[in-house]
Symmetry: C2
Subunit: 201 residues, 2 copies
DNA sequence: AATGTGATGTCATCTGATGACATGACTCTA
DNA sequence: TAGAGTCATGTCATCAGATGACATCACATT
């Protein structure tokens, strides 16, 4: 029953206490979601491929969706740290944009992998919901960071939400682009476009 | 077993074919979500209070969350219609903002009801996820409306996403406000604030 | 060798969700 | 007015996600 499980990572016998169950589950989940789709994949399938039981899956991930998103916490932390460390700046919007820009190198280096993950998410409403709330929480965290710097309540929320909007649009453009494109450049260009768009009359 | 169900709307005997099951379910759900919280409310409880079975609940609403959101479709339609009907305008951003502004009167007249619904949603992550995807879909629809008007791809997405961001912030401010406040005014003021914030250097 | 600790398996159970089918109530028409 | 048709609902069965309780296995420490 066990030992038949074969993780996508290199593993030999894989007994009960083979280390790296979390990583194997993550790999197995992404692979299966790509192969058959999210809904068609049972948690038991993922667990089997990773060589564990379904119960163990839920010890590593809160639910079936989270397996695709828990890595995103890293991005939020980095953006937040950048925001804290940043020098005083003219506009809160510039501040948040700069903070977001520091995270582009984490995901920007492998567009194909990002595209795979994005394709899975784009194909399922539940996954989109989870993605959106992750982004919203990131935005809220950034807004709080601004408030701690003394930025007004509404202004902080507005800057963070707007920057997140720019980020989403830039990210989408980057994923869709056929030509060579740097995520950081896409972000800057989109921000410039917003400036034009929102220019006071 | 039946006949014991007592909807929050005025109803007498309420036999099997008492009309308005959808509305009764909606009322019952909101009331129970407020009383005990979303997670603590079983679909069977909602159905019982509405005088139907759980199976019937799922014939009216796709899932336990949707009962709080299906009314929002009206807002999207109105915004979209306003966007289609609007005259040519300088900036796509102005266009979307104007479209969103037409919807403020639908929900703006009863802040207390909105607050109740908002309180339920704010207390539960699943509900926030659903709310976010609804707003995202509305934003996407508005972006498509702009594209049909010939607005460029990225610019359309950016205008819609930014306007949605403004809307969210304004809405939050309106809900939180202790003083008398018109939703439309909040929207306009927040938009003006964005103009300042994003002013080209 | 005994013991403790942590990761995992096993089992039971709940709840959300859905398909299949039966049935009650209402409408229309011959 | 009886009968057919239709629609909303009830009933039953089943599945998948999720969680608590407890047993068990491997490993480290002593």
């Amino acid at each position: 029953m066990r030992g038949s499980g074969r993780g996508s990572t290199t593993l030999g016998g894989m007994g009960r206490w083979e280390p790296g169950a979390g990583g194997r589950l993550r790999d197995a989940a992404l692979a299966l979601y790509l192969e058959r789709g999210f809904e068609q994949t049972m948690v038991a399938d993922i667990a089997e491929r990773a060589g564990v039981t379904a119960r163990t899956f839920f010890r590593y991930f809160a639910d079936k969706r989270e397996v695709l998103f828990d890595a995103a916490a890293e991005l939020e932390e980095k953006a937040l740290a950048a925001l804290e460390a940043a020098p005083a700046m003219a506009s809160p919007l510039d501040l948040v944009m700069a903070a977001l820009e520091t995270t582009t190198d984490i995901i920007g280096y492998d567009r194909e992998l990002v595209r795979k993950r994005h394709a899975v998410i784009a194909a399922n409403a539940e996954l989109q919901e989870r993605e959106l709330i992750k982004l919203a929480r990131k935005s809220a965290a950034l807004a709080d960071g601004l408030r701690r710097r003394g930025v007004g309540d509404t202004e902080a929320g507005l800057a963070a939400e707007t920057a997140s909007a720019v980020y989403r649009v830039a990210f989408q453009r980057w994923v869709d682009a056929t030509e060579e494109l740097d995520l950081r450049d896409a972000l800057r260009e989109t921000f410039a476009q917003l400036r034009t768009l929102a220019a006071p009359r």
